[in-house]
Amino acid sequence: MNKVFSRSKGLTDVPFTFCPGCTHGIIMRLIAEVLEELDILEETIGVSPVGCAGFSQDFFTCDFVGAAHGRAQAVGTGIKRALPHRTVFTYQGDGDIAAIGTQHAVHVAARGEKITSIMVNNAIYGMTGGQMAPTTLTNMKTSTSPFGRDPQTMGFPMDFPKLLAGIPGAAYVASVSVDSPKNIKKTKDAIRKAFKVQQAGLGFSLVSVLSTCPTNWGLNPSESLKWLRENMMPIYEMGELKVSEEVEKL
């Protein structure tokens, strides 16, 4: 009898610190599996953000650097420029990459920085307890939009990967989801491709993953997946948003 599914060598044996049902863990597993399958665990340096994803460094078996809030991609840039032959990735929440760290995200894309960023979009600030994010949907209630997000005063939800896809140095941008086994597979494919883009030195790669936050959405894990499908997927453009000509040839 063969083991057909087990914990990746890319993960430590530390249990995830996420709430029950939170899909952060699925995304981390997929990254770890890709790093293992590409056989680059020993040459990869991850950069963790601030927020729920801020404990990433404890979960992966590769080297890790903890960045200040929003600065993961600047830190990743410094590492990559110092060690151009190493693989560098950042793991960031939507608040980290698309609010407090926006300038770095836009400019790593503009520079075609040869790093990979994984953006986890759950439309809310999880770690601080459910505040409005740049990705919070219109009319969605959070603790800082208790009557629902009113675009007139609080702005519109931002489709950040779509924005980055429009920047020339971004070689590969994909928007995926982990709400179902089928989409989980697509997410893994996108993550694998993003790392291959980096290995080939083709430019910046980003995979944005729609993820749940049962605790702060006030839904159980199963309802959360349904809510994600019904409410987030229609708003955020899904699929491969940018595949440069060189990436096509990969």
């Binding site: 990869t44 340096i45 080297d63 903890g66 410094g78 110092a82 400019h107």
Partner: protein
Amino acid sequence: MEEKVLLKGNEIIGEAAIRSGCKLFFGYPITPSTEVIEYLSANLPGQGGTVLQAEDEIGAINMCYGAACTGSRVMTASSSPGVSLKQEGLSYSAAVELPMVIVNVNRCGPGLGGLGPAQSDYFQSVKGGGHGDYHLIVLAPSKAQELYDYTMQAFDLADQYRNPVMVLTDGYLGQTMEPVVLKERPPAQEWDRSWIVDGAEGREKRILASYSLTNEIGEANNLYWEAKYKEIQKKEQQWEEFHTEDADYLIVSYGTTGRISKSTVLNARKKGIKLGLIRPITLWPFPVNAFKPFLGKIKGIVTVELNTGQMIEDVKLAVNCGVPVELYRRQGGMLPTETEILEYIEEMIMKTDAKEVQA
């Protein structure tokens, strides 16, 4: 090979960085520091290094943070408003104990301020600057040769103590063109590199991060850093003394005003006033040891500063308020002349002597 060249202050820092083995520079242009990034953009890539003009100062300091995590020698340079933006990154760098060199070509503030020289960032530089309890080692050159020498020393101190080191100059030093001897650098000492992050090839993974959500760990971390800072305070105080042997009065001044004050001392001596100068070279650790021999011997101290009186607080602490300490300052980009400093000191002496007569 030693050579004597004529360079702008900011360019000297750039050259010293290259000769110190600095491999990466991340910066953002800001007057009056811009020649540092310009000089390195022209000269570092040819030496196998990398210069990246970042999206902003925050990006630049965090790129330094990333590069420093790999054990590479890395530097950034900016001027006051830009250095304010770097404070978050400096706090993180101090917490993760990353060797790096930060140059602040101090211009006058607050706010956007002006482009003239100032020492108004003294507090920011020596008291931490960002959040949390930490210190940068701060070196204050006063002339071209020191810009060169102290920049080199900054890289060594950064490696030795695994701590960010600031070279604090000002708009005057940065923009002045002076001859400098480009001395050959002695081979750098090898420091422990078992902490760097460069891919866990054939070893256990490493993490460089500064969170401590457990209060007990947080306190232990702070105690550990505190012990390091105390060691630096004990071992690394540097200062220059000028005509202090028989001094009745002392000027305490660093950087540009330290240099001007030397002329004041010479002029005072011509008038028979026994004036000396203590010029702090390390602003942190502040050279408190410099003052010990003079306690009970001198009648007064004047700090000469380009701010509303910042270093004076450290001088008062250093003499434990046992000596009258006065301040002579110019602000907003203005520099004092050696004559006006002397006039102020003569007035102070008259007051002190009058008190003695009354007593």
